[in-house]
């Protein structure tokens, strides 16, 4: 187990190097001038451009720039943007909001998705099953910006139930509707995965045994059946949390949330290479950690799975 964990963590190193290099290269491969529009209405003076170019080493070959960046990161300095703002400070400002948004989305997925999945999986064909199948199909086929805009207009503007945009403090309550929008598509998948998995295991011999033991129905379903049906759902949820963080760009845009999504969007437009690389790498690391957590969770859920 310890060796397995160590091996998995060591695998992070090449992935980290690979992603950072690719993203770094890609940012500079996109045409555009980082100093365009930095000096108001007029063009930036030559002296300013050459000063900045020197200061940020933009004339060095890309590989040299990359390794300079890497050296700084390893020593704990994430650097600053062209306007001199500390990157780590910006991250610390935006990340908590996105993390909270992702947690709200994840909770909504788990609660609604698993409950709806268990109910339809156990009852089988019928009105409820059809209702859930149609509504999940609808959610899956609607792009996030449509769900987001529709809910924003209906709940926020027409009915006035929520504020159309989220305040800078972004309290938990304010994040419920954006969280639903962010998690809607995955929630539909969670519902369908749970439904299928429960329906498959519902007639398993060990479920019959639990009933024959005279265990209460609720215990048969939520202890014996759900634990066995959880693996595909947990896999999906784990990898999904990773992508929720990065996938928040649209949702954060619609509801004007000042999180990671908005940050990465602005910085791609402004060719802030170091910033973009840092955020994407961070997201990749979150993704890797989540998939490691999922793999470890497998062994907890199903003791037949062992790592060495």
């Amino acid at each position: 187990m310890g060796r397995y964990l160590l091996r998995r963590l060591l695998q992070f190193v090449p992935v980290f190097l690979g992603t950072t290099f690719i993203v770094y290269t890609l940012v500079w491969a996109v045409p555009g001038d980082p100093f365009a529009g930095k000096c108001g209405e007029r063009q930036c003076p030559e002296t300013f451009i050459s000063l900045m170019t020197d200061r940020y080493g933009l004339n060095d070959p890309l590989v040299v720039q990359y390794f300079t960046y890497l050296g700084k990161v390893v020593s704990g300095n994430l650097g600053e943007t062209f306007s001199g703002v500390s990157i780590s400070e910006q991250l610390l400002n935006s990340a908590p909001i996105t993390v909270r948004l992702a947690i709200v989305a994840l909770l909504i997925q788990i609660v609604i998705g698993v409950v709806a999945g268990v109910m339809t999986g156990i009852r089988g064909r019928g009105f409820l099953d059809n209702l859930v199948l149609v509504s999940t199909l609808l959610l899956i086929s609607l792009p996030t910006f449509v769900t987001g805009s529709v809910l924003q207009i209906l709940l926020g503007v027409e009915w006035g139930i929520i504020d159309p945009t989220v305040s800078p403090e972004a309290t938990w309550g304010e994040l419920i509707v954006p969280g639903f929008v962010l998690g809607a598509i995955s929630m539909a998948y969670v519902t369908r995965l749970t439904r299928t998995s429960i329906a498959e295991n519902r007639r398993a011999d060990y479920v019959r045994t639990a009933i024959a033991k005279g265990q209460p129905t609720r215990r048969v379903v939520f202890v014996h059946l759900l634990r066995n049906s959880a693996i595909p759902v947990v896999t999906f949820l784990g990898t999904d949390l990773g992508s929720l963080m990065g996938g928040a760009i649209v949702t954060e845009g619609v509801f004007n949330i000042n999180g990671i999504g908005g940050l990465i969007f602005r910085n791609i437009a402004e060719k802030e290479g170091v910033m973009v690389t840092t955020i994407v790498t961070l997201l990749v690391l979150v993704y890797l950690l989540m998939s490691l957590a999922v793999d470890l969770l497998y062994a907890v859920l199903d003791p037949r799975i062992r790592y060495e």
Binding site: D205, T209, I211, A212, K213, G214, Q215, N228, P303
Partner: protein, 346 residues
């Protein structure tokens, strides 16, 4: 109907004094499976009974309805596709088929417990064996975790699992086949049931382990004076442990008798054919006698006596009249038109 069970004579008699109700009484049970492919008449009027401390063997080919009867008794039939059309399952005289779901749940495990053929799939793969046994004591008896653990270890000891204390924490896949079935038995005994239904408990095991499990079941049954329904197609097992035998064919009981009489003078041609198909030491070298033909499809059960297309004693009336299941001698029942001719008078 005022018939009661007479334990002495092993049969139902008109209501009299000093008669005792049987522990379990199945009467005229009829079950159908309705699927898109059609209707299969799985049980067509099954009746049997078991007394306290008695072992009833239910014998029959695959698909004869042995397990379905047991599942109906337990109330663990998959409905749909199964539909219970009628009949009674009386436990201490109480009709379980008419009982409320909560009452049925109470009876499961505490009144009637069941063990299954394939213990590997019947045990939950993601919980330890100890958890699954202790669960019964915790949830059904309200014991604390520590008490339940102790109780579960005692049960594992009882079924002769070595190092029960350590084995408590093992998962089903870490057990051997025989140990898994022992653990299953331990689990079924947790609430001290009055009746144990064993659905082919040794079919999935190799021969030496089979014998150990049968010995264990027999010992436990005797110690606890528990009723035992042993569902099997193994005549050897039946001869060794059963008090009485019910033979099933095409969803009916075709013969019921005590072991001794049934083996000596079968009162139904199907039983007779089954006994003749056994390999015998004194007839070594001769070809085994198989029953000709195949068991009937339950979607198309033959008219009249369902066994008539395969019966060596078939007569004209067999394909038209359904033979009544009736008492043919003391404690002996048969569903053959010629049952009386098959057994010697007296």
């Amino acid at each position: 109907m005022s018939t009661v069970y007479d334990g002495e004579r092993g049969e139902f008699v008109a209501g009299e004094e000093q008669a005792t109700a049987p522990l379990l009484e199945v009467e005229d049970l009829r079950v159908e499976f309705r699927t898109n492919d059609g209707v299969a008449k799985v049980l067509n009027g099954v009746s049997y009974h078991v007394n306290a401390g008695e072992t009833l063997a239910v014998l029959g080919e695959s698909g004869s309805g042995k397990s379905v009867t047991a599942q109906t008794v337990m109330g663990i039939l998959d409905t749909p596709p199964a539909v219970v059309l009628g009949g009674h399952v009386r436990f201490h005289g109480e009709d379980l088929l008419a009982a409320r779901p909560t009452r049925r749940m109470e009876v499961r495990g505490a009144g009637i417990a069941m063990i299954f053929q394939d213990a590997l799939s019947a045990l939950n793969p993601v919980f330890t064996v100890g958890f699954q046994i202790a669960e019964q004591l915790r949830v059904r008896r309200g014991l604390t975790k520590a008490e339940a653990r102790k109780g579960a270890i005692d049960l594992l000891d009882l079924v002769r699992i070595p190092h029960a204390g350590q084995r408590f924490r093992s998962y089903p896949h870490e057990f051997s086949g025989g140990m898994r079935q022992r653990a299953m038995i331990a689990m079924s005994l947790a609430l001290d049931p009055e009746l144990l239904i064993a659905d082919e408990p040794t079919t999935a095991l190799d021969v030496t382990v089979q014998a150990q499990i049968m010995d264990l079941l027999r010992d436990i049954q005797r110690e606890r004076d528990m009723g035992l329904i042993l569902i099997t197609h193994d005549l050897g097992v039946v001869a060794e442990v059963a008090d009485r035998i019910a033979v099933m064919y095409a969803g009916r009981i075709v013969e019921q008798a005590d072991v001794y009489s049934l083996f000596r003078t079968p009162a139904h041609p199907y039983t007779e054919a089954l006994l003749q198909s056994l390999p015998r030491l004194d007839l070594k070298g001769q070809e085994l006698k198989a029953i000709k033909g195949l068991p009937p499809s339950l979607a198309h059960i033959p008219s009249g006596c369902p066994f008539h297309p395969r019966c060596p004693r078939v007569a004209a009336r067999c394909s038209q009249e359904v033979p009544a299941y009736r008492r043919v001698a003391d404690g002996r029942f048969s569903a053959c038109h010629f049952a009386e001719e098959l057994i010697p008078r007296g």
